[in-house]
């Protein structure tokens, strides 16, 4: 018995250490794992503190979606701010900021947003600290018809779902007070890919659409301050029941939720 247990443990160590080495080799030496499709900017944070320091700026010839994937192996809060000359769809202002914690390997702060043509700039605020921050970005031109649809939503004409999406909920939010009100229940017998679009024209207050499942949840869609447009968010759901819940307090405007099954 003792010999068997020790043999299993020694074999496990051999296999486990090999797997750990492969896992470490699979990561870059700095711990960043930014997908290859992204352009990458890496900043060494150890030389000085930064306050809204320009990292890079680009000019978009056509309306595009910008995908950001940010990691850092340094402790402390780093803030990445994107400022655009043109509209950022779903936002009331032309800038958006992200806090990047100590995320490496499989963890990252990520975001996708759509901008009209024009210049955008990326700034960094960070304390002087040992380590680096890596910002991956990818620009993908938007089809003009698709951009026009999103722009209409941005302007408040919310009933513009993408093809294949069906409305599951809509409401005027003014005067509503909802705490995780269940608006729709989705029952899945098999694993399924679904698409979700949440649009709100609320300019104030609290609005949140949450998809609550057991193994996966999506929280905080349709935020008036952070992003009023959540378009075609696709996710794979395992079998089970999922609830769409709305929280709304002191808000105005409208809310539309569309689902593609």
């Amino acid at each position: 018995m003792k010999k068997t247990v020790y043999t299993i443990l020694i074999l496990s160590i051999v296999i486990g250490v090999s797997l750990m080495v492969f896992d470490i080799m699979d990561r870059s030496s700095d711990g960043f794992r930014i997908p290859a499709r992204f352009k990458k900017v890496v900043v060494d944070l150890s030389d000085r503190a930064r306050s809204n320091e320009l990292l890079f700026e680009n000019h978009l010839e056509v309306p595009s979606s910008i995908e950001l994937f940010m990691q850092s192996n340094a402790a402390g809060e780093k803030t990445v701010e994107v400022i655009s000359e043109s509209e950022i769809l779903g936002l009331n202002r032309r800038k958006i900021d992200f806090n990047v914690g100590q995320y490496t390997g499989n963890s990252a702060t990520s975001a996708t947003f759509v901008m009209d043509a024009g210049k955008y700039s990326v700034y960094l605020t960070s304390p002087q600290t040992d380590g680096q921050i890596a910002i991956g970005y990818q620009e993908s031109p938007k089809e003009s018809s698709e951009f026009e649809r999103l722009y209409r939503i941005h302007e408040g004409d919310l009933d513009n779902p993408p093809a294949g999406y069906e409305e599951i909920f809509s409401a005027d939010l003014l005067g509503r007070s909802w705490q995780t009100k269940v608006i729709y229940t989705l029952s899945l017998a098999t694993t399924k890919d679904i698409g979700l679009s949440v649009y709100t024209s609320a300019q104030q207050g609290t609005v949140s659409v949450d998809l609550i499942g057991n193994t996966s949840s999506l929280i905080g869609l349709g935020n008036p301050a952070r992003n009023r447009i959540c378009d075609q968010l696709e996710t794979r759901l395992t079998p089970g029941e999922y609830q769409f819940k709305v929280t709304c307090e002191n808000a105005d405007g409208q809310l539309y939720v569309f689902l593609k099954q």
Partner: protein
């Protein structure tokens, strides 16, 4: 001077407190850096398996006699597998009900907004960690080391105390896991108490963890909003069968050395009480943190 041939309750309580604290602190440090699979291996080997093996080495104990690294009959091994598979359903049921209670009465536990996915290497490490390492390392610590120590106080109820401590330790995985882990811990403790072999609890633990990996996701997804009738039936059916299986175990024959090791009536020292209280405070604090996160 004759060296004591078994662990004391004080040693067990000190080791448990250190293990519980270092598991939480170590996981907070290593998991984001090395991945969830590697972190599990560090937990199992370094914090859980190392202390009892270190004590064996320092005190010159025999792992066969003290931690009961002994063979058992094929019949007992088969019973352990069947009991592990069956009791998992009841443990899942208890965990599900606990979680629903917490979700509905206190609030949902929201995971921080960050992307996380497992690499293939981390997935394999996690799989081996749960099916092979956790059964060996946790059983050595809880049933081999702690149960033996608490049997010094009461041979009959040593496994009850250890099972409860084992369940409490799982508050680090979430409050909803405490009662289900207690139930599994009691069953594993009973197996060792009855068969006098830690092999049975290791096999039971591996069977239950295999069941969790194979069925946990599907069961969790199917029982999200309510506990369906079929789960009541499966859970209590599993519990009933487990009782039947456990009652059909063949009793292990205790060696002469074991008779020397086992003695009852040991009182817990002041240090032992202090460390048990510290462990309780630490684990309750971890539970309170979860409740605050749910409320917030």
């Amino acid at each position: 001077m004759i060296k004591r041939q078994s662990p004391t309750i004080t040693q067990a309580n000190i080791a448990f407190f250190i293990t519980a604290v270092i598991t939480l602190v170590g996981s907070a440090f290593f998991q984001p850096r090395l991945g969830v699979g590697t972190n599990l291996w560090i937990n199992e080997f370094v914090y859980i398996l190392f202390p009892p093996l270190l004590l064996v080495w320092i005190n010159g104990w025999s792992v066969e006699d003290v931690y009961r690294f002994r063979k058992t009959s094929i019949r007992n091994m088969v019973i352990s597998v069947l009991a592990g598979l069956n009791l998992w359903f009841f443990a899942f049921y208890v965990s599900r009900i606990s979680r629903m209670f917490l979700d509905n009465r206190i609030g949902l536990l929201i995971i921080p907004d960050q992307q996380t996915d497992l690499s293939i290497y981390q997935s394999i490490l996690l799989l081996i960690g749960m099916i092979v390492l956790a059964p060996i390392c946790e059983e050595t610590f809880f049933r081999g080391f702690m149960q033996r120590a608490y049997e010094g106080h009461s041979k009959r109820y040593g496994f009850v105390v250890t099972g409860t401590i084992f369940g409490s330790y799982h508050v680090l995985n979430g409050i909803s896991e405490v009662f289900s882990a207690c139930i599994l811990g009691l069953a594993m403790g009973y197996l060792v108490y009855k068969t006098d072999s830690i092999a049975t609890s290791m096999i039971f633990h591996a069977a239950a963890n295999t069941c969790a990996i194979a069925l946990g996701g599907v069961f969790a997804a199917s029982t999200l909003l309510a506990v369906p009738a079929w789960l009541h039936i499966i859970a209590f059916g599993g519990l009933g069968l487990t009782v039947v299986f456990l009652r059909s175990l063949t009793v292990g024959s205790r060696s002469e050395d074991d008779q020397n090791i086992s003695r009852e009536g040991e009182r817990m020292s002041g240090t032992g009480v202090v460390f048990l209280a510290l462990s309780a405070i630490f684990l309750v604090s971890a539970g309170i943190m979860e409740i605050i996160a749910r409320l917030g």
